[in-house]
């Protein structure tokens, strides 16, 4: 019988974004969404830019926007590595919407995608 929860570390290149216990983590890999629960087999995958949903063991939900990166799971420890990652709570919606408009106007595809991921993370909260 596997443990009821897994330990999650969400780290960005320059800081630790979130860490704690969770019962389910859903992230988007290049081959589709993947949900990891305690006792999952060891896994190492490439993440797409997208929202990551973490169901914490106290029943709450943490949503973060991860821009590319990796997911790795072993020994009931899950690490989410992203170059840039931010919690949905930290995202300033109005600013992102302005960024999105500017990116669209300038035709900056990567900036547009980044803003889009942030907005989706906020919507999933």
């Amino acid at each position: 019988m596997a443990a009821a929860e897994l330990h999650v570390e969400l780290v960005a290149a320059d800081r630790q974004v979130w860490s704690g216990e969770a019962t389910l983590v859903v992230a988007r890999t290049t081959s589709g969404d993947i949900g990891v629960m305690p006792g999952h087999q060891p896994l190492l995958g490439v993440l797409e830019s997208g929202p990551v949903t973490i169901r914490t063991s106290d029943g709450g939900t943490v949503v973060a926007a991860a821009h590319g990166g990796f997911i790795s799971f072993a020994d009931n420890k899950l690490s989410l590595l992203a170059e840039i990652a931010e919690l949905a709570d930290e995202i300033d919606v109005q600013r992102v919407e302005r960024e999105l408009e500017r990116a669209k106007a300038e035709g900056d595809a990567s900036a547009e995608r980044r803003a889009d991921v942030r907005l989706r993370a906020v919507a999933a909260r």
Binding site: E9, A13, D14, P42, L43, G45, I71, S72, A74, L81
Partner: protein, 305 residues
Amino acid sequence: MGAQLRVYKRRIKSVTATKKITKAMEMIAASRVVKAQRKVAASAPYATELTRAVTAVGTGSNTRHPLTTEAETPIRSAVLLLTSDRGLAGAFNSNAIKAAEQLTARLEAEGKEVDTYIVGRRGLAHYNFRERKVVESWSGFTDEPTYADAKKVAAPLIEAIEKETADGGVDELHIVYTEFVSMMTQNAVDGRLLPLRLDEVAAESTGKGEILPLYDFEPSAEDVLDALLPRYVESRIYNAMLQSAASKHAATRRAMKSATDNAGELITTLSRLANAARQAEITQEISEIVGGSAALADATAGSDR
């Protein structure tokens, strides 16, 4: 006031002003070291996790990847040298440059061509002055490097290593930076980033003979490795840049501390000299007065007779 005394006073004033400046610079550097150290610590979790993941793929699969396989006869190496934009940091930059030159000499002795990449104006100025070829250089962010800066630096290096050697690509990537050991100790070190020595990386990440589990790769081991290795290089460069920045600030702090101490010493010496000059002046004045009055007394005594 005598001319001599005036000169001393002027020098004391100017040294005092210099001392104030160096003292301020010392304090600024000291606060920046702490900040830079904090950034090094904040980047550690990402670097450790990434190293762990690289080790897991490298050892857990028998994928062959250009970034992990050693060329049979490496003919070209890239050397990335991290220096600072500004001086006033004692031997910080010259130590890093010296380490890079030793590495270059060693690689050339092994019969490899060396492509030099430089971060920081100081290093670039050194190479330009000697008219050595630099493939690419970056500056303007060495005091507080961000991850985006590291990406910018890493991009052409990764591109060079992925290119075929015949088309101007490189087989190896070395990095020379100043390792931050403590406030007092910083060492210029060189290390090979690529091709990866997996056993070394493994020893670094797991430590005490921990066995890595057999991972399930998503989508496949090659794809994971493809995505992982550039990030690994970026994170190593980022870490080196942060350490280099912390070391630079620590070196500045030390250099400015000794400058302040020296200025203090100079002020003591100069004030002693000024005191002696003043005393000599007073002594001379007294002897002049005494001599004058004696002469006057002699003259009046003579007229009495």
